[in-house]
Amino acid sequence: MPRPEHRAITFTIDGRDVEAPENTMLVDAAKRGDVEIPVFCYEPKLGNPVGACRMCLVEIEGIGKLQTGCSTPVKDGMVVHTQTERVKEAQRSVVEFLLINHPLDCPVCDKGGECPLQDISFGWGGGISRFVEPKRHFVKPLELSPLIAIDRERCILCYRCVRFSQEISEDYQLVLLERGAESFVSTFDGHPYVAPFSGNIIELCPVGALTSRAYRFRARPWDIEDAGSVCTLCPAQCNVTLTVRDERVMRVLARDHAEVDDGWLCDRGRFAYPALDDGAHAGHNGHVREPPGVPLELAHGVHAGMRVTEPLVRDGGELRRVSWERALAEATAGLKRAGARTGALAGGGASNEEGMLLARLMREALGSANVDSRVGGELPLELQRALAEPRLQAKVSDLEFAHAVLLLDCEPLLDAPVLDLRLRKGVRRHGMKLERISGADVRALSETAARLAQEGEELVILFSERFTAGPDGAERARALLEIAATLSLDQVDGAGLLEIPATANGRGLREAGMLSNAGPGLREVERAGLDTRAMAEALGRGELSALYLLQVDPLSARDPFATCAPEDSTWHVALERASTVVAHATFLTDGVHGHATVVFPAESYAEKEGTVTHPDGRIQRVRQAVAHAGTTRAEWRVLAELSERLGRDLGVRSEKLASQQLFDAVPFYAGLTLEQIGGRGVRWQERAQASAYTQGQA
């Protein structure tokens, strides 16, 4: 589907000639001439402008009435004035109108200090009000949902939240009830606004009407620092800004990236932050974060579910807090005993560097090739490589502009929630055709794909790792590749395949060498090892005796390694029989709690420094926002230390060196620097070095 084209035109604003892409809305075009036109209701992410707030009125020569800058596409030769007395008076009057019913309770309002209404009142308002009558009143604040509070007196009725609910998340719950000055935002049936993306309306609200109940009264803008990072709670890898106060994450905000998240976050990504920091500052026990109401003795002890902030070693059948020295020694001894009879899994939010270092530790220090990050087991390397072939890779924005998208064994809302919104956008705004199919019947799949291809040549097939998991995975992968070849998806810009791995950094871990049959850069290895399934079985038979779990717990109900495992008790038996289980864990989940012999506290993503790779190949930086919880050490450091103790110095002395090693090890990452990746990431398929991918194959 044609992407918007941008022909440059020149227009005049406040006497200055400014160049801007034709048909961009005046408020956006004006910014290119350093002119700010104030807005409340305008938010391009929400689709077409509605022109409701009237804040952006400007004068355009040749047009009698003042025009809304938010809805006027800029044309060549247009002459715009934003500083005439007529415009200023109109803007002053809109501010005055907006404030007559606004409580002006800024000193106790969460939004105070980061409030567009405050800023615009200051910048464009008259400074006084002539309104002396009583203001409109509502009961407040009310629970709009368990997560969101609504203060209807502060609301300026800009429609943003309603438009989000109606036209972006399409949950159709928020509406405006009543009319005129009595209008108010509500759910249509008065029930709580519970929806997967509800938290976005807090960020959209240009006043303090919608506030996060978790963040309410926890900090003022001048108390906090912003830290940009990438959320690694799921493969969508949304760009986020963490609001940090006193080494605690207080809030998670979107950090708009059109090629990743389109500026939205799911509620899990937005509200799961209490798990991201130490929590000790608020608690009394200093080490573990316990849910409220947990008895003190339990809170002080080691118990399932707790945040791990210190090394733990199993002693006398129970995990006990120990020093780092003791934990490292225990782990070294256990791994040395097992040697090549060790297996390793990586998942969770493990970074590329961590994956690479674990694979090196296994292959170089222990002589074991048993490493995996695929939850469903090995896929023949030529298929793995063919599926990740750069020319065949679709990117996130293709999901919006494709003629058709086929969801193959994939539920975006669960697999990578924010992509759900992108697909809705494609369907709603660009008339994209969307279908879903189970991969079980290969013939039905190829028929559906062929039919969808008739919608237009840009067809994207979005599939989950489940599609290629299990014994028939290879056969299905082959069928998919055949379909892609028949439809020439690799020949068309905007068409292709996009796989959502089971774990947040599944793609990065594979490319970093965490595969049983491939090294860094998906290169063939001399000796293939056991894959996830085979490891479990070998442990059960006693052929392997040690297991290294990097942010994986095959017994935890929420871990993809567990949900994709066979229904039987293979992993139970495996962990039961393993003599050494070394785990890096942020939380003491069931399997780790019950079976680990050594537990290293793992960093949450807010504590981590490193790179991850998005399902579409975008390498992104995870940046440390808060201090390590307790005595937690960076994983790269623990892995390097262990390797050295096992007799192999990996030569990693800092996280930067770890990244450098990664870029050197993966041919198609070659030459990358952390500075290049920066805050927006780099899609490796778009670099010249991508050619190394195909060369490596030959």
Binding site: G51, L66, F97, P134, I156, E182
Partner: protein, 436 residues
């Protein structure tokens, strides 16, 4: 009067039924139109100079010609949400002569190339909707609506939709939203309905009276029609005269007659021993004119020149027994109640104006408040999403401008009546003025 077009036979018993309508020459215009090409019918409409009778006064033929050519689905919507206070001409047309409207719709849809049409009628017009429903059934039965009308290459579906009681739904884009099943809020223009209207398709929207005029134009020819009235306001117009007149009602007149003739000769003027204090020439949203303006010709341009508008063609006469503050409050309260709340100046401005008027009425105001109120009206006019805000601000602004001494007297009288102290200057200057 020889030039009666719309009200020809209006009081004929049974005119609302098909046999009587046909016996009076009904649907002959449709037969004539279907024998012409689309373009020829359109040319007649353009030549007639017929201006929209709903309020905006935009030339109908031009509006039809704005619809894009091509095979896409086009719509015709008849705006029968006649809600402007003082306006009741469409009601009489629909009630007594529904087939003329239907015939007009079919001809207009033929000219516009629309194959789906709707009549959006205000919810309170239950009787008229029932009459229309019966007429529609007859017209369908007789083949005037449906597939291949009268054997010609034109098909049309026509659906009657009843509104739910919101003034704003008479605004064309709010009407479209309401018709689509949404909350009736006005849309941003552009895009105009001619390009993106109902279901985002090209849409022609016209008032009942406008469409009811189409058969007459088709029969007599656009040029002949244009000979009626004056140069830029052609044809005849139904005028609803109400308020303080002795014979309120609908009158069909040739555009351009002196307003005095309408108010005094036709409607009988104000009751005995009363004088005209002010009058709305085009519904309650038109700025008021005074007795001094009674000789202004009743047509679009002269009324605009006099500072008001022809609007929906509804004259409301107010005599000297009515306090201007009462009138202003009545008008302001209506628009406050009907403001949809979407855009800021209208939502807040109408509410604020009512609050100020209530203070004026109770004596809690000062003459300074009149300045504030006047400036609030100025801030509403032209700055809103649709014209509802203007519809309050224009008449209120005109009342303050023309009757300021009466407002001031009213404030003072109410203050004395309620035993309040004279207002004193505030002790402190408001913050901000000196600082910034």
């Amino acid at each position: 009067m020889s030039d009666v077009l719309l009200f020809k036979d209006i009081d004929e018993p049974g005119l609302s039924t098909l046999p009587v309508y046909e016996s009076r020459g009904g649907y002959s215009a449709l037969r004539k139109a279907l024998a012409m090409t689309h373009g020829e019918v359109l040319s007649e409409l353009e030549a007639s100079g017929l201006r929209g009778r709903g309020g905006a006064g935009f030339q109908m033929g031009k509006k039809v010609s704005f619809l894009p050519q091509g095979s896409m689905e086009k719509y015709l919507v008849c705006n029968a949400d006649e809600s402007e206070p003082g306006t009741f001409k469409d009601r009489e047309l629909m009630q007594k002569n529904p087939h003329m409207l239907i015939e007009g719709i079919v001809i207009a849809s033929y000219a516009a190339g629309a194959e789906r049409s709707f009549i959006y009628i205000r919810g309170e017009y239950e009787l008229q909707a029932d009459v229309l429903d019966a007429a529609l059934a007859e017209a369908r039965e007789a083949g005037y609506i449906g597939e291949k009308i009268l054997g010609a290459d034109h098909s049309l579906s026509l659906v009657l939709h009843r509104g739910a009681g919101a003034y704003i739904c008479g605004e064309e884009t709010a009407l479209l939203d309401s018709l689509e099943g949404k909350r009736g809020n006005p849309r941003l223009k552009p895009p105009f309905p001619a390009n993106q209207g109902l279901y985002r398709g090209p849409t022609l929207i016209n008032n009942v009276e406008t469409l009811s005029t189409v058969p007459a134009i088709t029969l007599m020819g656009g040029e002949n029609y244009a000979k009626l009235g004056v140069q830029t306001s052609t044809g005849t117009k139904l005028v609803s005269v109400s308020g303080h007149v002795q014979r309120p009602g609908n009158y069909e007149v040739e555009l351009g007659i002196p307003s005095r003739e309408l108010i005094y000769d036709l409607a009988g003027g104000p009751p005995e021993r009363r004088e005209v204090k002010c009058w709305f020439p085009g519904g309650s949203s038109a700025p008021v004119l005074t007795a001094a303006d009674l000789d202004v010709p009743y047509e679009f341009d002269s009324l605009a020149k006099a500072g008001s508008m022809l609007g929906s063609g509804a004259i409301i006469v107010v005599d000297d027994s009515t306090p201007i503050v009462d009138l202003a409050l009545k008008v302001a309260k209506f628009y406050r109640h009907e403001s949809c709340g979407k855009c800021t100046p209208c939502r807040e401005g109408t509410t604020w104006t009512v609050k100020m008027l209530e203070r004026i009425d109770s004596g809690e105001a000062t003459p300074m408040d009149l300045d504030i109120m006047a400036s609030v009206q100025d801030h509403i006019i032209g700055n809103c999403l649709c014209v509802l805000g203007d519809a309050m601000a224009m008449p209120i602004g005109s009342m303050i401008a023309k009757f300021r001494p009466e407002f001031e007297d009213h404030i003072e009288a109410a203050r004395l009546r309620n035993g309040m102290a004279a207002p004193s200057a505030p002790a402190n200057e408001p913050l901000g003025q000196g600082v910034l």
